[in-house]
């Protein structure tokens, strides 16, 4: 079943085009990452997919229902975590979730369970305003998880967090995947995307450049294709990664002169640079 589909989405604000002909589909149970630099149109796309914003042309659908036409019960099946969705600073973590639980007719035990799932059960009575940035992110994540949705949109969930806090969020997202939840994730952190996502799409200036599994993209756009040998005398030798190099490499191994051997491992950053000529983390 297709959880999310985007067909030829275009979005322009006055004369400025933010998204250009964006199309993709995400099957149920997949973690899909939208990777792109700041200002590439990631948040705008999430807003269109979740029905917060109408596209200039094209269409978006969640579980085969147009995003703008989602009913309240359908919305309940979709969790959204966006940086701009604030928390009630004066209310406790528990009361923050209680507001949304009341909207969906969810009982108190589910709130406690959700707080435990995001590691905030000890902070249930603490006002949200007193939480650290990482904990606030967890609270927003808890709000997205509260209704046990089948689809979750996460807009830069680890933005501005320290590595330990980001790691915890990654674990929570991975746990959702185990439940069969579809996750749509935007990020400009290539490591996060490589680690979490089944498939990614690279977005630049509102256009999807390429999409596919991270490992496959790295292989496809690996321009370096080199094998580097470090010899016992300290010298470093590089060979093109093709069959013609095999005899020379084998000879060095047979002579016992090789100390280490490395193939050049491309990452999403190098894929992005290959495709755009720009760096990703801008």
């Amino acid at each position: 079943m297709i959880a999310v589909s985007a067909e030829h989405i275009e979005k322009a604000f006055c004369a400025h085009t933010v998204l250009r002909d964006v199309s993709f589909s995400i099957p149920q149970g997949e973690i899909f990452g939208l990777l792109g630099p700041s200002g590439s149109g990631k948040t705008t796309l999430i807003k269109i997919l979740t029905g917060q914003l109408a596209p200039t042309s094209g269409s978006a659908a969640l579980f085969a229902t147009r995003s703008e036409a989602l009913t309240i019960s359908q919305r309940r099946g979709v969790g959204i975590m966006m940086d701009e969705f604030g928390v009630y600073e004066r209310l406790s973590c528990f009361d923050n979730l209680k507001v949304f639980a009341a909207l969906h007719g969810i009982d108190r035990s589910a709130i406690q369970k959700t707080l435990e799932a995001v590691g905030l059960s000890d902070c249930a009575k603490i006002p949200a305003g007193k939480l650290s940035k990482g904990m606030k992110s967890r609270l927003r994540l808890a709000r997205a998880f509260l209704t046990s949705p089948q689809l979750i949109f996460l807009d830069e969930p680890t933005s501005g967090l320290d590595p330990a806090a980001a790691e915890e969020i990654h674990a929570m997202i991975a746990a959702q995947k185990k439940r069969g939840v579809t996750v749509f994730l935007t990020t400009h952190d290539m490591t996060e995307a490589e680690k979490l996502c089944d498939r990614i799409a690279l977005l630049d200036e509102g256009r999807i450049l390429v999409s596919g599994p991270p490992a496959e993209l790295c292989r496809r756009y690996n321009r370096l294709r080199q094998i580097t040998l470090r010899l016992s005398d300290g010298t470093e030798l590089s060979f093109p990664a093709d069959p013609a190099s095999a005899p020379a490499i084998c000879a060095l191994i047979e002579q016992g002169r090789m100390e280490t051997i490395h193939s050049s491992e491309p990452n999403l950053e190098s894929v992005f640079m290959t495709l755009t000529g720009n760096k990703l983390n801008v």
């Binding site: 979740t50 917060q52 969705f85 604030g86 009630y88 209310l91 009361d95 009341a102 909207l103 007719g105």
Partner: protein, 230 residues
Amino acid sequence: MRSVVAVLEKQIKDTWKNKTVLIQFLMFPFMTILMNHTVRIETMPKHFFTELFAVMYLGMAPLVSATSILSEEKERGTLRALLMAGVKPGEYLLGVGLYVWTGCMIGSLLMVFFDDYTAKQASLFLLVAALGIPFSLVIGACVGIASRSQMAATSLSVPLMLLTSFLPMLAMFNASVEAVARYTYPQQLKVLLVDAERGMIGAGSCLILLGNGLFLLVLFMILYKKNGLE
């Protein structure tokens, strides 16, 4: 209905922690009680302070509270989170409106309770308050809808609040101001509060209130259509 109740509950929970709104609800009732029990002048009309402060209260508290709640939710992005959770704009406004109305009615009740009104006078006083609160509430909602931030909302609400709460007092001292003020709802609320003391309510005042109400509703609808809730 579930959404309205959820918004209402959230506001009630927030009351003791939201100083801006709490002060608005309690400031004038406490001032009234204080003045009534400390200032005694022979020639002063009965219920003078209650009527004076009640008009100010009805002009100020609902306006500032509604503006503060709406603009804060807009600025912090909690309003968007509520709307994405399936709360309709009308349900949200109704929830906030009910909360502010109830808070101000409790304040009005305190004013009446600590003054020596008869049961009939008190009932009429509270009826006038119940009718008057929505006027300032709608103005507050208009300001909240038209403002993008709390700062912008404050810069709009302060002059409006001064106008709605002090106009009847200025009208007491200046005939020209009174000639204009008599067509506004704060002045008519003052007239009705004095009438309530006599145990009657004038039809003329009700007509002017109706006109003011229609004008404010049209203004609200125009602003809502133009800006939406977000």
